[in-house]
Amino acid sequence: MNQPTKSTLDEIDAAWTSVLSTLHFAHLPGQEEQVLQPQLDVTLLTGFLGSGKTTVLRHLLEHPGALRIAVIVNDVGAVEVDAHLIRNMTSQQISLSNGCVCCALSNDLSEQLEQLSADSYDVVLIEASGVADPVNISQVIHGLPQCRLDGIVAVADPTSLDAYLENPQIASLLSRQLQTAHLVLLSKADLTDEFQQQRATDLVSAIAPGSRIISICQGQIDLGVVVGAAINGVSMPSNEEIDAFPFASTIVSPAGPWHRTDVGSLLDKGDLQLLRGKGWFADTDNNLYQLQIVGRRWSIDRWRNDAPRAVVLIGAHERDVAAAETLFRSLDQL
């Protein structure tokens, strides 16, 4: 008889829970054929216990640029924000002098997101529990009309990845987290050598083919890479404090109309090695569309307001950005 093992039972249960949550949230009045209104951009941060999620969140809270960021975490106490920045602090919430807030995950996430939307934060970052499959939370967000899931970002610790993937209990969960993510941040670059980083990159690529992988050090990552909303208009992100791992970027301005199905099939092919992309283009009927790229995930939505016709492309290397630029330029010839 085909007996389930412990880990397959775990997987069945996780799979079943995800199926239920997919169905549950799909019946809510979410985004139909999208005509985008300005709304709350939500980024989900996943990663196994000890991977470095909190460090990333702390960095972003302390370096929000012009954005008002709300961070939702499991344990507010664990986010040790620079004391100079703290305006007010309770066990449930830390308010910062730069306009950002860090609050504890409430029982009702959808209610909490509605409140943050009403308080007009620009961006919400949610830290998923280290032992959770991010699918469930992502479905909550898809089900909320005032929210837009900008991306799922995973943090992985290259120093423990090998060992975790050999543990069948952890491997299935960790794999689900990495497969769900659109961008993978390999943390602790300062604690690993080149060999370890390459090994971790190979492991992640094997589990989640096509992943965009970035090495980071002490949680330092450009806000524009983690959060699409940080790419303000079509200006390129810059964060002077990060010099360890600089990014390459460029702006492509369409020479004429682009058809959305052409843009869609270009993105579908999966040749782009971009970390992020954001911008607007118009079709032959002068309908305006917003394009967003997070790693291998992308979206094209109707855009109601006016916007500049240009697309920002961000990559880890100059060659990736140059290749992407060539592909986008080819849309002008279609």
Partner: protein
Amino acid sequence: MLGHTLNDDAKKIGGRSRYVVDDQGEVMEHITVYPASQIHTMDPGRPKASAVAVSEGRIVSVGSIESMQPWLRRYPHSIDDRYKDKVMMPGFIDPHTHLRLSGTYMGLEYLGPVDSAAPGGVRKGLPSRDAVLNQLRALVAEHSDPNVPITAWGYDPASQDGHLDRDMLDQISDSVPIWVIAYAPHIVYANTPMIQLIGVNDDSVGHGIGRYPDGRLNGWFVETEATARAARPVAQQVYGPNAGRTAIDRMGAVAKAAGVTTTADLVWGMADGFEPEWNDHASAIADGTLPLRMFMIPFEPKLVREFGSDMLQFLETKRAEGNERLNTHGVKYVNDGSYPSMTLVMNEPGYLDEDGAHTGEVPWEDMVDRMLPFWKAGIQIHSHANGDRTLDMTLDTLESLQRIHPRFDHRFTVEHYCISSPAQARRLAALGGQASVNIYFVHFRAQLHSEHGFGPDRSEATARLGSLERARVPFALHSDFNLVVTPLSPLLAAWCAVNRIGADNETIMAPGERISVDSALRAITIDAAYILNRDDRLGSLEVGKYADFTILDDDPYEVNVTEIKDIEVHDTVLDGEPTN
């Protein structure tokens, strides 16, 4: 009803004719006798019988055809020998389910590669893509409404020979929509009619909408955004206006097939409100599609929110409106999370790793005040406690209630009782409480949690029935069928309780917590009736009780203890009427 019964209205006693003649002048009162090869009455005083006599839904006599002659000589009767080769027991009682809630999901067929628990029992894994396609072909063949999609979950492209796609599924059917969500649910597969229902076409643009190399849609919807989109038409079917009633009918059939004749909905009012949920059950009973007795146990926070100080009056009104098939009973509190999701609240040393423990909607410090009105009104309290920390709080609360307003025979019930200590069992006994226990986890989940969440000690000793029995705490077994993947099957529950075999099918989990076959069978019949405070009418075959029976192919007292779960349920009888 024949003669006198204790439960008739007092004024009718003695003043009643033994023969009632209807409009057509026929004698209505009639005894039906069901002989069986073996009858276990679960009345320890008269444990075995070979026939049971029934009239107007009640038991007239239990014994043999010879022993019941004093009744049969006086009244018209017939012998119905359809069960003469079968084993008869009192109708099984699952005292804690969520049929209406869980039924909404149960339209999903399972196509996964490994055996999986499901409400009707264990579903076999399918080894290959061909096996999956054959299964889908069989589902199409018996599918009645071509407008309703066939929905399935669990496909694993890695171990079942690669992805499904649109053309492949169109070969199965190009008219019935087919929707399959994968085992790792990051992809939905759809055939052409399903793609149309989802509302995308070759011109649609969106991440995760899969295509063949020629640009035609291939029926894949990949990653959360696209799967959410593909799930929308199915979700609307699952959650549509008739979903509650459909769910009750579907799950009623599952429960009946498992031999259940009585169950309780433990969160009445929570999902769609008290009246809609009541009305769905009432209409299902009226239409004959729900062959069960239903106890509707209201979810306290909803009761408080909706009715405030009128909550007891509301329950009284519903009690008057209810009847022997559908009625309100008790009140329900949910005070921590669940076992499989590792959200229950535990004492030291706590979880192995990070946990998501939560305490439920009613603040623990308010518990005594919240329970007191019901306690004083004599309404039975059912209080969910999965973790041992939550159980401590529950016992503290019960002790406070006893100090404020001492009561006997209150039947305060701890629901689930997953993680506990022998000391807690003895304290529960001292306070006069009882337990309704989810035993399925011992087999399906406990070993997993040895390394994941609870650690070895507490995982092994999940659901301590032996300790409850030694402390003389009355207990029942339940399925709680809802969102966790455990089946709804009282015989499987009894098997878990007697054997306590882990998921590896070898290890005996905490051998001293096993109980005898008789105790386990009591826990799904007479003791489950006691938990619901209806052992005066239900749970054993005794004169005057409801004629609810479960008919089995084999005798659970005679088969090898490891085979109790494999006994086939042949039929159930409700109010004296076979339900098949």
